[in-house]
């Protein structure tokens, strides 16, 4: 979408040597990843490849075992191998960091006991202690942006999946984050609802929002992402411009991953011709 300035010295998100294991099972091995301002990076990989864990490590919803994570040059996780030092990073700093990183979940995770507007206003109200009127006005603007302003007074359980996901995007945006994390934002949606969420995300990308997106939507990765990162068994197997990585895969694992999508398309072809 945008032309990311990859020559910049200071990436918005910088990850170095990130590793994570659950008991004996290693999920992430020595991951290095930079996301620059205005860049849209798609994280691809089959299930169990570690892409969701990596995303959740960025705002420390998942605690890595070791490595270093910086947001806008500020270290929020720093633990060398075997060491017990956390560079004195306090929970309060982690909370502040999280308030600057927006997150959208696969299952929306809207707060069911609050209205749509209440959901969108909650973060600035509680975390930023923001004035109600200003908060409300901006919350309505974001709801407008995602096309949900008419539903401001509804309770979440009365919305479709696509509507819920658009509200959850507005909820994250209302914190005015520096970067947005998306964790398979369309995977829990009925196929006919995927489009409305993707189009909201495309709007954001066009406006220059920095986005890190875990997705199975190869089309989105190909068309919208500036860069794709392909994970397999906890390591980055391939990384680069979407067309290079996905259309002309040189890596064997990427090839078989992409082929599986082609295979599904092939399987469906005769069905579609009827």
């Amino acid at each position: 979408m945008n032309t990311p300035d990859t020559s910049r010295e200071n990436p918005l998100v910088s990850i170095r040597g990130l590793s994570k294991a659950y008991a004996a099972h290693t999920v992430l091995r020595e991951i290095d990843l930079d996301v620059h301002e205005g860049e849209v990076v798609a994280l691809l990989g089959s299930s169990g490849s570690g892409k969701t864990t990596l995303l959740r490590c960025v705002n420390l919803l998942e605690k890595p075992d070791r490595g270093r994570i910086e947001i806008s040059g500020q270290a929020i996780f720093n633990q060398s191998a075997g060491g017990d030092d956390k560079a004195g990073i306090k929970q309060k700093q982690v909370n502040t960091l999280r308030s600057r990183v927006g997150m959208v979940f696969q299952h929306f995770n809207l707060f069911p006991h609050m209205t749509v507007l209440g959901n969108v206003m909650e973060g600035p109200r509680i975390v930023l202690k923001e004035d109600g009127a200003i908060n409300r006005k901006r919350a309505m603007e974001y709801l407008e942006k995602v096309g949900m302003a008419d539903f401001a007074d509804r309770m979440p359980h009365r919305l479709s999946g696509g509507q819920k996901q658009r509200v959850s995007i507005a909820r994250a945006l209302n914190m005015r984050p520096e970067v947005m994390l998306f964790d398979e934002p369309t995977s829990a949606l009925d196929p006919e609802l995927v489009g409305e969420v993707l189009s909201t995300m495309i709007t954001l990308a066009k406006e220059g929002m920095t986005m890190l997106v875990v997705t199975h939507e190869l089309g989105f990765a190909l068309e919208v992402a500036d860069r794709v990162v392909f994970l397999d068994q906890g390591t980055i197997e391939a990384e680069g411009p979407p067309a290079d990585v996905l259309l002309h895969p040189t890596n064997e694992r990427v090839q078989s991953f992409v082929n599986r999508f082609h295979a599904t398309a092939e399987l469906m072809r005769p069905l579609l011709q009827d």
Partner: protein, 215 residues
């Protein structure tokens, strides 16, 4: 065969007993809930010593018979500590702690079974643990815990009858007293049972109603 005039003649004593029963129900429910919440949160912390203390509390009160605990609190505890405890204070303390053990389990389960995604969403916005609890987790947990909490509170009310062994003049104690000078235990105890049914059947009905309402 039934002589109901016994009841009407002693209505003032029964009313006084009812008042005492309701008073102890309300006070021990409020205190029990507050302590139960603390114990539930204690069990959910990552600090092992505190969570174990919470667990121990629950195990103790779920496994000691209430009557034994009540009598111990009034007759044994003052000797242990070499202090004087009034029967009212002993009763309130013993019933509240006992209720807290049960409330704690209901609250802990309600908090734990809440979708982890709710905590994730709250934390992702930058909320502290306390803010997430107060704004996101507890309001939802309480809502879905209303039916079991109501059920436990009904049990709590019935348990107040045990206070009569400490000579706290609750409904049951008054019944015994009236029976002792009228020699009509049949009418008196029947009436007391009916009073409980009149209060608790609608309460149970309301609790069930809340349950379906919250689905």
């Amino acid at each position: 065969m039934f002589d109901w005039s016994i009841i009407t003649q002693n209505a003032d004593l029964i009313l006084k007993g009812l008042w005492i029963t309701l008073y102890y129900t309300v006070v021990t429910t409020v205190l029990g809930l507050a302590m139960g919440l603390l114990v539930a949160l204690a069990q959910l912390t990552r600090i092992t010593a505190i969570s174990w203390a919470g667990r121990l509390f629950v195990e103790f009160f779920r496994n000691v018979p209430l009557l034994v605990w009540l009598l111990w609190s009034y007759y044994a505890l003052p000797i242990f500590l070499d202090i004087n405890i009034s029967k009212q204070l002993a009763g309130i303390m013993a019933l509240s702690l006992y209720g807290a053990g049960y409330y704690a389990e209901i609250l802990r389960a309600g908090i734990q079974t809440l979708d982890a995604g709710q905590t994730d969403a709250a934390r992702a916005l930058g909320m502290s643990t306390g803010q997430a609890m107060r704004r996101i987790i507890l309001p939802q947990a309480f809502r879905r815990m209303i039916p079991p909490l109501a059920g436990q509170t009904i049990i709590q009310m019935k348990n107040t009858t045990l206070l009569s062994v400490l000579t706290v003049p609750d409904l049951l104690y008054q019944a015994g007293y009236i029976a002792s000078f009228t020699y009509r235990p049949m009418e008196v105890y029947t009436a007391i049972g009916v009073v409980f049914l009149i209060i608790l059947i609608p309460s149970n009905y309301l609790a069930r109603k809340l349950e379906t309402h919250n689905r």
